[in-house]
């Protein structure tokens, strides 16, 4: 418990780090809030005074009343203006803090190691950056301002009430905690009901997700009736526990309102008695007291919900900070070398690697690649072919040994310059929202249209791009929009054609591409590879028989290594693979 509290404190401290920048605005907002509350409370007093001058026929002092009423209107206007400014300031702080936090989070994402991205579902990270940031800022800042005005209102009302009549004020003070107690009691007792509801609802959602999400299969196997039965059973259960949870939680409002009406009646009674016996309170005073009695209890009711909201906000903030405090990738050394144009000598020296310490994947790999050589990586699905790409591009660092490019350990080269020397085409194509031109020019943003067209022609992409509605200016929505998988791949190849780096990493397309596009892609690959070091992740053995070195991978490790003939004569794993095709 105290551990949790300490953590909350820590988070709040970090939050302050973001708000600090706007502390002038915060102070202003608080000051305005104080004034607004005070004025709001003062108005009923004015009205009460005015009422005191309306006693009976012949005893109405119009002059005084007019003065008071004018004053009240002026005060109302001032209050309104201040309130608007305060709201606007609060908005500004909220949205600015969200923007700052998101920006920092996004920047952190750019330097986090790939390990983080690979280990966390995209949806999870996105929801931290977007939804959590929103909830946190809304909840925290709005919560604080509500909490603050709530407390000021309570204190202010109390003071005003005391100033009008301490005795009656005492009645209010004694009765209000009752409403808090009731609200608390209900909240505590409904918690388990809510939990039951959310568990059952979660179960139902999961079931809907499965059955409706895979409705075609349900129908193919004629499982409709069974699915309906299971669903109905769950639906009945959910109805029962939902009813309980909703009903019992909706008790809070009527119950606290009942207590409030008790307070109200109490004030009326005690006020009337005081008025009769000692005349210590005027009619206007009593009317003002009554309106206070109503106001006074409201913040109490709100505070409990504000506190839950605040805790939720802190939890959200915690999730974002967790992301922002992830260890970034190993920073580059100060005198890291900038690799200009590599020749293409690549050496793996005794390389070992694993994603998790207890599971060694690549063990003591030694490999020398000379300029212009073609290296093929083969193996069954899921054997870890991408691991090698991760190491070459330095998306991950080796656990032991070293990889050298032109004789230099890649850890001593800047990441940017190392990666620029590789042209990478992955099987999972990725296009950015933007025009076709922008997508091809990704590696060279200042390329001219001619250059881009030239590259597209080289990749056999020109003919289909030409036929798109706006040619090279066709805007592609997220993930390539309506382009086919093969077309997307061709654009990715054109992207590399444009920059023509000295070393290549090509991930062959799987079966989801039709044969004609497939042949075009192969041809484009062939063109790219001429005179360059290339690593090819191959799915079809027929295309890589002329490779200089074939690495055969299984379960993450490289189990055989050599050229086609050598591997065949070995009659090992490669031999089996080759002849099963």
């Amino acid at each position: 418990m105290s551990d949790k509290k300490r953590k909350q404190k820590e988070i709040l401290f970090k939050v302050w780090g973001y708000i600090k920048k706007y502390r002038m605005l915060v102070v202003l907002s608080i000051a305005f809030a104080g004034i607004v509350v005070a004025l709001t409370l003062y108005l009923p007093i004015l009205i009460g005074k005015a009422i005191d001058y309306i006693i009976e026929p012949g005893r109405v002092d119009f002059m005084v009343i007019r003065g008071i009423l004018m004053k009240s209107v002026v005060i109302a206007i001032i209050t309104a203006v201040l309130q608007w400014i305060m709201n606007t300031i609060n908005n500004k702080i909220t949205y600015q803090v969200i923007a700052d936090i998101r920006k920092d989070a996004f920047e952190r994402l750019q330097i986090l190691p790939l390990k983080y991205m690979d280990g966390h579902p995209v949806g999870d990270v996105v929801s931290r950056v977007i939804a959590d940031a929103d909830q946190f800022a809304d909840g925290l800042l709005m919560g604080f301002s509500q909490l603050f005005t709530g407390v000021v209102t309570i204190v202010g009302t109390l003071l005003f009430m005391l100033s009008i009549h301490p005795g009656i004020a005492l009645v209010v003070v004694c009765l209000t905690p009752l409403s808090l107690l009731v609200a608390n009691y209900i909240a505590k007792n409904t918690f388990s009901l809510f939990k039951e509801q959310s568990v059952t609802r979660g179960e139902q959602t999961a079931y809907i997700d499965e059955m409706i999400g895979n409705q075609k299969i349900v129908q193919a196997f004629s499982r409709e009736d069974i699915a309906m039965e299971v669903f109905d059973e769950c639906n009945e259960r959910l109805e029962k526990c939902s009813l309980k949870a909703i009903f019992f939680s909706s008790l809070t409002n009527p119950c606290t309102r009942f207590i409030n009406s008790l307070v109200y009646a109490g004030v009326a009674l005690s006020g009337a008695i005081v008025a009769i016996n000692s005349g210590g309170i005027t009619i206007g005073g009593l009317s003002c007291f009554l309106s206070y009695a109503k106001q006074y209890t409201k913040p109490f009711n709100e505070i409990s919900s504000v506190i839950t909201e605040l805790q939720n906000a802190i939890a959200c903030a915690g999730r974002i900070f967790e992301l922002m405090e992830e260890t970034p990738q190993v920073p580059e050394t100060e005198n890291a070398y900038v690799l200009e144009e590599a020749e293409g000598n690549i050496q793996f020296e005794d390389v070992s690697f694993s994603y998790v310490p207890e599971q060694k994947l690549i063990r003591n790999l030694n490999l020398t690649v000379e300029p212009g050589q073609k290296i093929a990586i083969v193996g069954p699905t899921g054997c870890g072919k991408t691991t090698l790409i991760n190491l070459l591009m330095r998306f991950y660092d080796v656990t032991k040994g070293s990889i050298k490019v032109d004789g230099m350990d890649i850890r001593e080269i800047t990441r940017g310059s190392l990666r620029k020397n590789y042209g990478m085409v992955l099987q999972e194509t990725w296009l950015k929202e933007g025009t076709v031109f922008e997508n091809i020019a990704m590696g060279k943003p200042d390329a001219t249209l001619e250059e881009v067209m030239e590259a597209a022609k080289g990749a056999h992409a020109h003919s289909f791009i030409k036929r798109l509605p706006n040619g090279y200016n066709t805007y592609l929505t997220e993930d390539g929009g309506s382009l086919s998988q093969g077309q997307k791949q061709l654009i990715c190849i054109a992207r590399i054609m444009l920059v023509l780096p000295p070393m290549l990493i090509l991930d062959e397309a799987t079966s989801s591409i039709d044969t004609r596009t497939e042949m075009k892609i192969q041809e484009a690959f062939g063109k790219l590879m001429k005179g360059r070091v290339s690593f090819i992740v191959a799915h079809r053995l027929s295309t890589i028989r002329d490779a200089d070195v074939i690495l055969v991978m299984k379960d993450g490790d490289i189990i055989e290594q050599g050229n086609h003939e050598a591997l065949l004569s070995k009659k090992g794993f490669y031999y089996n693979l080759y002849y099963s095709q």
């Binding site: 109405v60 990270v125 809907i208 990478m424």
Partner: protein
Amino acid sequence: MGKLLRFLKGYEKESVFGPLFKLLEATLELFVPLIVASLIDVGIANRDLGYITKMFILLIVLGIVGLAFSLTAQFFAAKAAVGFVKKIKHALFKHMEELSYAEIDQLGTSAMVNRMTSDMNQVQSGMNMSLRLLLRSPFVVMGAFIMAWTIDGQAAKVFGLTILGLTVIVYGIMLVTIPLYRKVQQKLDGVLAATRENLVGVRVIRAFGLEQAEKEEFSDKHGELTGSQKFVGSISALMNPLTYIVINLGVAVLIWQGAIQVEYGILTQGAVVALYNYMAQILEELIKLANMIVLLTKMVASGNRIQNVLEMESSQTFPKETDTKGCKDMPHIVFENVSLKYGGAGEESLSNLNFGIRKGQVVGVIGGTGSGKTSLINMIPRFYDATYGKVYVDGIDVKKYKKEDIRGKVGIVPQKAVLFKGTIRDNICWGNPEACEEDIWKALRIAQAEEVVQSKEGKLDFMIAQNGRNLSGGQRQRLTIARALVRKPEILILDDSSSALDYATDANLRKALQEMEETPTIFIVSQRTVSIQHADIILVLDDGEIVGMGTHEELLKFCEIYQEIYASQFKKEV
């Protein structure tokens, strides 16, 4: 949304009593200022302690009765809302199960799931709130207005104007801000998409060293969002200050008029206090109403979306009983001039297919992406209806089969290997609920999945997580094959089902299939010629048309497209 209200049937009592009790409670509340007024005018003026006590007790009694009313109202409202949604959920789930593949495609599964979940929640809380509050707030406002009228006609005018002014402000601001908020939401969606894109494309971004450019782009996009947020925020921040001014102006005028009326002896001091109290009640209720309207618009939007799905009619109807009169001498499966055009598509996905398959034959279906392979096999269990032409199974038009009968003949292994939460046994039994232990193991053996199951803790009782997350792609695929086999289908369809299997397993699977005792007619859809080259007959599809039909050897000789496909996979050997 309106049409959904029919689901309140069976909850008529609750849906009337909920609001009714709420109104009763509100009525009681309206009496409070009157009681206080007479407490002042009679009790205090006459120094009548007995009267004062009586009024006090009356206030308490009102409170207790009010509490009882409101609890009753909450209960009925909750019951009606929960029951209402339960019924809609049942109806929608059932309806979705009756939709044909064509409608499922049109809707999209994620939309269907959303209709069943988040939209339902929205409707439930909206309904609950509506039953409780929708009538209450206007009622209190009108009630306060009428009460004011009974006290003083002059004052009622002030009330009327104030209510009008408040309504104009509240709805005016909502009218302006709702479309603006929608724009903010769009921009937020844009920022979300940018974050997503950045994460998905992290490898490419880093490969090109584009981190800095990404940061700048994000910052720009977010700047726009923040700008719009501030703008719409400053407009909606006007709501409270403006209503505050109006209500206080109203109060000032009210008091001033009250003063005049009192001077002429028309009103008492207590009455003025009462009028003042009614004014306060109006403000409170109007604010509640504004919040309520926001919730209501959301509910109506959700309700309409649900209703739209419910109104969608299945494009297929199945006869109650299979018409057994058929042509006995037809081959097992016959396609006669079959064409298929999907709803909304411009071109036909299948054009004029004609072929017949004999019982027990192995049929290979090959062709590029989008050539219509999956469409073709989907016609056999009647997942889609032919736009032209007919499909016959056992000499009977598939449209004359009872739904369960035609589906029962077919065991299908879809492209995407989907398994469900439950044991391996449960999942296999999807294919055949009556399958015995032996049947299951036999199916597993043929599907090359025996090893997979043996290696799992609990064997057949191993719990598969939702979507089969705790199995690899290849394992899932093999289990889905076993699921289809345990049906002992007359027709087995493997829709590119060996893509996640390595070559050796794929080959073993094909061999085991051919060695089955009662060999079904088998359709193998594939992109790889190796997977189908031993088939009795191969259908080559291109752009929805059959461009070649025959054995591997025949096609190699005469079918250009087949040659091309083969060549692309065995370049050097041709």
